[in-house]
């Protein structure tokens, strides 16, 4: 049994890699690129939502902000696309610093609302600053090239961008399984205790926020470069909502769940657009509600639990496994609450 568990991880990884390599052969290449970018976005968001316990509703600011930054770098400097994408990621990280600084001290719904508000400010600026961003038309005609090689074919661009995207996934995985990631989980589960152990909880949250934003930015930058176009929609709040939806669908705190959620949502959107259906929001919304109600831990989370139940493995920390005395101490107001 232990052997099969040890064998499972490389097997899953290999399957994922094969799928990533084969994707543009299986589906329309631009859709494949969308999936890969959204998958990284969802994984980066899960770093915050699932492993730090922060529900950001403003990640469009980083995905979209980086989309514009990367597009502008590509348009005005003519640098190779990876440089533009990484520039976008750096821009997202820098943008995340003040936003995170002002919001990580808030909890729960307040954090979500404030991140949403900041993202709407970014949207407003992008929309108004027409000379730079093209306003409602977006930023068009973004070149994609690498050492003189033209990558405007989505099929080719997919493979050119894949190493960067995979590096992004490795980065998320590394952060989650690092000493830092251990502290994040402790903050998620019991911030008062983490403080009592001497950890400056807000500073850890801030770094998690910045890292998550940078990786979301990497994904958003590649998305814009791949399409040759940075759209106003990329900084709109629906983009933040869609990313949250992907993570919840796949399973919060599962990392790979977000990838599955992204694949599902992108495929569904594409299908509905192709058949000319108007009410995309209604359909995805309904499916979202059903999945969340039926599979409370998301698709990946539920599958993992079923598998664990079959192999007789118990997962700690699930409802019913601890007693009610756990969790944050009942009477420590002022801990992590807005001051």
């Amino acid at each position: 049994m232990i052997l099969s568990r040890l064998a499972r991880r490389p097997l899953l990884l290999a399957a994922g890699l094969v799928l990533a390599l084969a994707l543009p052969w299986m589906i329309y290449p631009p859709v494949a690129l969308d999936m890969a970018c959204w998958a990284l976005f969802a994984a980066a968001l899960d770093l915050l939502l699932g492993f730090t316990g922060l529900l950001s509703f403003g990640h469009a600011a980083f995905w979209g902000g980086s989309a514009y930054a990367a597009a502008l770098i590509a348009v005005h400097s003519g640098l190779p696309f990876p440089v533009a994408a990484l520039g976008g990621a750096v821009f997202a990280a820098v943008l995340a610093l003040p936003i995170g600084y002002l919001s990580v001290r808030l909890r729960g719904i307040y954090f979500a609302m404030v991140t949403l508000a900041f993202a709407q400010m970014v949207y407003f600026v992008v929309n108004q600053w027409r000379d730079l961003t093209g306003g409602e038309n977006g930023l068009q005609g973004v070149p994609r090239e690498l050492f003189g090689l033209d990558l405007s074919d989505s099929f080719v661009f997919y493979y050119a961008a894949l190493p960067l995207l995979l590096a992004g996934f490795v980065a998320v995985w590394r952060v989650v399984r690092s000493p830092f990631g251990r502290v994040l989980v402790s903050i998620r589960d019991n911030p008062a205790r983490a403080q009592a152990l001497g950890y400056p909880v807000e500073r850890y949250k801030l770094l998690a926020f910045v890292l998550s934003a940078a990786l979301s930015g990497l994904a958003g930058g590649l998305f814009a470069l791949g399409h040759g176009f940075a759209s106003l929609e990329s900084v709109y709040w629906t983009t933040s909502g869609q990313a949250v939806m992907m993570v919840v669908l796949g399973g919060i705190g599962t990392l790979w769940g977000g990838v599955i959620g992204a694949g599902l949502v992108v495929e569904l959107n594409d299908y509905l657009v192709t058949v000319g259906f108007d009410g995309i929001g209604i359909v995805t919304g309904t499916i979202f509600v059903i999945i969340v109600l039926v599979f409370r831990r998301g698709i990946w989370g539920t599958a993992r639990d079923l598998l664990a139940a079959r192999t007789g493995r118990r997962r700690p920390g699930e409802p019913g496994s601890g007693d009610t005395q756990d969790g944050a101490p009942a009477r420590t107001p002022g801990v992590g609450t807005p001051v």
Binding site: S178, P179, A196, L197, G198, L207, P316, G317, Q325, V335
Partner: protein, 252 residues
């Protein structure tokens, strides 16, 4: 035992007009074991929350050595050498006791900022973690998720976490509450052992624990200090007997 290592001066905490802690002066002598007793709701836990930065005082000052701690954040207080345990067990349910202690031990090292390294980096604290677990009798449960531990084991882990910080001042909030006689005995032995080189402040209802450990006792009632002195003196104080010891002893 020298001068006070930890002092509270006129410390008060008001919750919406209700004074849970109402002008408390407390001098905890360096190297002593200082017990804090009093009926439920007397303000003992609130006092701990004030001393450790979890609550901001409405009035008064807190001094550690010569240093003003008033207004410091909990993690700063912890770093300055004041560690606490929680009355209501406060753990990370998914983590094992060993992982808890690794986290506690890694606190001051800066290693926990390394998001680009494997969490195996924390293995270097494994030996010390096992030592501490052994001290509190948890070595056999080092790999069990804390959420599934028995109550007494959770209390023991709570204590081990505070000890892992190797604090100058150890604040224990009802460390033996809900424990069986055997675990109480072990906890008393443990406190006796770890008090060397430290100062211990403990909230404790069990009077035999207080009498066997405490150098001094402060009795709190309705947020105020009722009386303070060595156990032998205060146990005969009529005010104390009527306020607290009387009804507490009645149960034993």
């Amino acid at each position: 035992m020298d001068g006070p290592v930890l002092r509270a001066q006129g410390l008060a905490k008001e919750f919406r007009g209700f004074r849970a802690v109402d002008g408390v002066d407390l001098d905890v002598a360096d190297g002593s074991v200082h017990a804090l007793v009093g009926p439920n709701g007397a303000g003992k836990t609130t006092l701990f929350n004030l001393l450790t930065g979890f609550l901001k005082p409405s009035a008064g000052r807190i001094l550690l050595g010569g240093r003003d701690l008033t207004g410091s954040r909990p993690e700063q207080v912890a770093r300055l050498g004041v560690a606490r345990s929680f009355q209501i067990t406060s753990l990370f349910p998914q983590m094992t006791p060993r992982e808890h202690l690794e986290l506690a031990l890694a606190g001051g090292t800066g290693l926990t900022w390394r998001f680009w390294r494997s969490h195996r980096l924390l293995d270097r604290f494994g030996d010390r973690a096992m030592e501490l677990l052994d001290q509190v009798g948890l070595a056999g449960h080092a790999g069990t998720p804390a959420g599934t531990l028995a109550y007494g084991h959770k209390r023991a882990l709570e204590l081990a976490l505070a000890l892992a910080l190797d604090p100058r001042v150890l604040l224990l909030d009802e460390p033996t509450a809900g424990m069986g006689a055997e675990d109480v005995e072990r906890t008393v032995e443990l406190v006796r052992k770890v008090r060397a080189g430290r100062t211990v402040v403990m909230v404790e209802h069990n009077m035999s624990v207080v009498s066997s450990l405490a150098d001094r006792v402060t009795v709190l009632q309705s947020g105020r200090v009722l009386v303070e002195g060595p156990y032998a003196e205060i146990r005969h104080d009529p005010r104390v007997i009527s306020a607290y010891l009387g009804d507490a002893d009645a149960g034993h």
